[in-house]
């Protein structure tokens, strides 16, 4: 497992998701803190391309050896891609949570929601206070 890190180029959501903005689309994943808390991830139950996600509501589930947890959408939009590799290799979420362990790509429907997100420093602070 990688060392703890929160890249500066990402935005963060309070449910421990990260967002990488790419034009009118965004890539979602879970943070180092989230994957560390879950432990070894053994299964990812993810939605299909074309489905919509809503900020603050669960879009899928990650099952670890400890528990099954909901994964929350940090922003709203339509799913344009799902990381299908996770079906067979869910442990990528542990091994490379900001890279190969990405989860969804979404075409954003409300850029106003971006204001709700934190930058890396704010997220670190949020973690320290939690």
């Amino acid at each position: 497992m990688a060392d703890e890190s929160y890249p500066q180029d990402l935005k963060y959501y309070k449910e421990h998701d990260w967002v990488r903005l790419e034009g009118d689309e965004a890539v979602f994943g879970i943070t180092w803190f989230a994957q560390d808390a879950l432990g070894e991830i053994v299964y990812a139950d993810l939605p299909e391309v074309g489905a919509t996600v809503t900020a603050g509501t669960p879009y899928g589930e990650l099952e670890s050896v400890k528990a099954v947890s909901d994964v929350f959408a940090p922003l709203s939009g339509e799913i344009t891609d799902v990381n299908a590799v996770l079906e067979d290799e869910p442990q990528l979420v542990n091994e490379d949570c900001y890279g190969e362990g990405w989860i969804l790509r979404v075409r954003l429907s409300d850029t106003g929601e971006l204001d709700e997100l934190m930058d890396a420093d704010a997220y670190r602070k949020f973690l320290a206070e939690a």
Binding site: E63, A67, V68
Partner: protein, 499 residues
Amino acid sequence: MPTGSSSPRPDGRVALDYTPHSEADVRELLDAVGVGGLEELFAEIPPEVRYQGELALPAGLSESELAAELERLAGADCPASGLVSFLGAGVYDHYVPAIVEAIVSRGEFLTAYTPYQPERSQGVLQSIFEYQTAICELTGMEVSNASMYDAGTALAEASFIAGGQTRRGRVVLSEGVHPEYRQVLATESAGFGPRPEAVPLAAGAATDMGRLRDALGDDVAAVVLQQPNVFGALEDMAAAARLAHDAGALFVAVVDPLSLGLLVPPGEYGADIVVGEGQALGNPMNFGGPGLGFMAVTSKLMRRLPGRLVGETLDIEGRRGFVLTLQTREQHIRREKATSNICSNHALNALAAVVYLSWLGKEGLPALAELCARRAAYLRERLLELPGVESYTAGPVFREFAVSLPVPAARLAEALVPRGFLAGVPMSRFAGAFAGRGPASGEPAVASTGRSPRGETPGAAGLDDVLLLAVTERRTRAEIDAFVEAVADVLSSGEARDA
């Protein structure tokens, strides 16, 4: 204060288990709440809504009088064990060896409820694990759960799995699936799960594959066929599985576990989910229940499998042990996400099944299945020699088949009881469960001779003259011969003819 059953009381009397309130008990309770008598206790209830007078019950009986009375009542029943039975339709009269009773009646198994601190109950978990292993080996599937209530409830769960997996809204079932299983599915699907739709049978009682193909579409979550089907006909399961998969649907096989001693296991023809009734595996007929639902799936569907699942592991010292696994799916842990309400199983029935299968063994299972098939074939051959008796189920059969008779099947069955035979199940019992089984246009429901023409589509004829017969290894050749003679006798005497 007396607490346990049959404890001696201060007044020297013994309180029996089922008469909880002695006069002294009542007095004690009334004193505790400070009321003088029962009339005073019930004073708040208006007299006009209270029953006036004495209940019309007979006087109390002593224990020995009661035992005699119960024996008299039981004697009025006519248990299958006292008759030569050809009943089947899901519940079968197979021999249950003494070892089954000896093991399942051990207190450790008999009195245990579903383990809520499961890892403390290694013996129960191991028995379930071995049951799961036996079901996987029997069906050729990858994962079995710890068992369900019966075939009907297992079928409903299979439909929910398919709906969840495919996110589609229809389940297409053959009418060859037992009408009672279909009814349970319809009941459980109301307001939840894919909508069930039935496809009729063709002549010879197997599923009409053309109609099945027509019923498929991109909104179908699963196709369900039963093997052998409720009329005993053998279905082309491989072809149905291909049709289902081509339409992007799952294929659900409802199978008879003992038939798998002879027939191809569902794992080999591409079944995604296998369910069935396991009563025939070491469980007595029990007047129709409790049954044993079994359910097995591919590993792809493992996380959608409802109910309990026991896994094998090693403990901290490297010793073999058993745990409940994938519990995160269970409704008592994540209630709002649960897709099934089952959180228990029929452990004792499942234990009987695994003891029975162990007793039967690898060679015993095919030998038993073959014996049933041979005896069923013999009975069918003998019955078809009788005038007016015609084949209803076409092709080879396992242990059950239907014939059409020159008389109403229910009348024949009734006439055979005093002669010592349970003739089988008159299919008129399931009237209404088969689409289009009313009169075909321009034809009477039953021909004037009381016979349905041979080779006709089942949907076009009534079921009054159709009798379903099952032959297990318990039926000897002599019993079969005597039965055929009795049938011939009733048919020629005319006593079962339509009034």
